[in-house]
């Protein structure tokens, strides 16, 4: 089993072409758990966290997007200037694991694993992020909504690498909230991201850990857009309550060893109402 540690994207893509089923290793925070337990014994490993193109990020103020390399870590996402451009992503990153995990874990790894509990994913969904994928055939890009196919299933083809995530910078309040058994080192039982775009007078709501992938709540979003006052940053108590009901109704949780479906559904309502109130603090 060879372990390849490329430092350029060309080398990394060539390595994937040579063994399209190679295991892609970024921060290792998901993958090494499976390797240590003997659940995965890969034929080839391509290590991507020293690929310079994947370690960096760029802000395009004209397009109002940030292209974040797939190997950028949570520790980097939660510090300015990235945290200033994408505050909800910074909040989500701060809830990931512990300092040790945040130094290693990457946004690309979050996408590659595609767990419904992935902390970065509700933010990427709410912001309508785009995922570029590279192979020796070239680069293609797809919406994060199309990329996330199911529980730990993505649209990445064999031989492809997630090179980055392109995230729109919106012009309104955004935040992330999470419920788990403690504040640190916890896999989410329910998560929510609210992102306001004042330019288009829209409110986005994405929820996690309550379905096979991240869910967008179209009814709650449409209701909020009509019920809130963007100029006054206000929402009535009734509007916040209705938003929470619609969010909970959009969830499709299951009972498992971490929490019951009923608890998760209730938690989504609580998180959605808290986030909408923070976004629109005036009654």
């Amino acid at each position: 089993m060879p372990v390849l540690v490329p430092t350029t994207l060309d080398e990394a893509v060539s390595a994937m072409a040579a063994d399209p089923d190679a295991m892609v290793l970024a921060g290792g925070t998901d993958t090494m758990v499976e390797v240590n337990a003997g659940h995965r014994r890969p034929s080839c490993v391509v290590v991507v966290n020293r690929v310079s193109e994947m370690r960096s990020w760029t802000y395009d103020p004209v397009a109002a997007t940030v292209r974040i390399g797939a190997a950028v870590t949570y520790a980097e996402l939660l510090e300015p200037p990235l945290a200033t451009l994408l505050p909800a992503l910074a909040e989500a990153s701060r809830t990931v694991g512990s300092p040790q995990i945040r130094h290693a874990g990457t946004l690309g790894g979050n996408l590659g694993t595609c767990s419904p509990a992935g902390d970065g994913l509700p933010v990427l969904s709410a912001l309508d992020a785009v995922v570029p994928l590279a192979s020796t055939a070239g680069e293609r890009s797809m919406s994060v909504h199309d990329f996330m196919v199911g529980v730990k299933r993505t649209a990445r083809e064999p031989g492809e690498l997630i090179t980055a995530v392109t995230v729109p910078v919106l012009s309104g309040w955004q935040g992330y909230a999470k419920v788990g058994v403690r504040n640190a080192m916890v896999i989410a039982l329910a998560t929510a991201c609210v992102a306001v775009d004042t330019a288009s007078a829209s409110v986005r709501l994405a929820i996690g850990s309550v379905g096979p992938t991240i869910l967008r709540c179209a009814q709650a979003e449409a209701f909020a857009a009509s019920a809130v006052d963007f100029a006054a940053s206000s929402a009535s108590a009734d509007a916040v309550r209705r938003f929470a009901e619609l969010a909970a109704a959009a969830s499709h949780p299951i009972d498992d060893h971490r929490a019951s479906a009923a608890y998760r559904r209730h938690a989504i309502g609580v998180l959605a109402s808290r986030l909408l109130r923070r976004a629109f603090p005036n009654e």
Partner: protein, 177 residues
């Protein structure tokens, strides 16, 4: 040696099946032979290189007992594939201070009674050193957050936090005299 290491860090690497590879651990080049290259850094440190100070418990990044520094970042060595760390600077608890001459953090843990069974201590010392390198006067909240990835089942954390605060006070007192 540091020049050699920075050269390695910018060069691509390939470690094949059962090929030997070298790791830079505590400012020494250590050969790893006859190893399955999927082994974690934790396993290689302990079982291949005989560095038993780094502890293994959960092997899934939950407990922090295996904390080491890789290229200046505090990480769980159980989640690092050892062969992927070729060319990177690895610092383990053995590299913090020579035996018999504990660091100020290690001394403070003893003085504050922050060590009971001791299993989590090496990981906590690594995390505390990392925190105190970056923050001269951490608040209690900051200490709790920075140590949140290190699980201790004996102490209840109170004396661990006190130990970190003692180092902070002593370092500032030392710097001002």
């Amino acid at each position: 040696m540091s020049d050699q290491m920075s050269d390695d860090a910018t060069a691509s690497a390939r470690v094949g099946w059962n090929e030997q590879y070298a790791l830079h651990v505590n400012d020494e080049v250590r050969e790893v032979r006859d190893a399955w290259v999927g082994e974690s850094l934790l396993f290689v440190l302990r079982e291949r290189l005989g560095l038993m100070g780094t502890k293994g418990a959960c092997e899934q990044g939950e407990c922090g007992s295996c904390s080491v520094m890789v290229d200046g970042e505090l990480v769980c060595s159980c989640l690092v594939m050892a062969a992927s760390a070729v060319g990177q600077r690895i610092l383990t608890i053995e590299g913090i201070a020579p035996i018999g001459a504990p660091s100020d953090v290690q001394r403070a843990f003893v003085d504050a009674g922050a060590v009971q069974c001791g299993f989590c201590t090496p990981g906590l010392i690594m995390a505390a050193h990392d925190l105190l390198e970056r923050s001269v006067q951490p608040s209690e909240i900051e200490i709790r957050e920075e140590l949140s990835g290190n699980v201790c089942r004996c102490t209840g954390y109170g004396r661990i936090i006190e130990a970190v605060q003692r180092v902070s006070v002593n370092r500032r007192a030392g710097a001002s005299t």
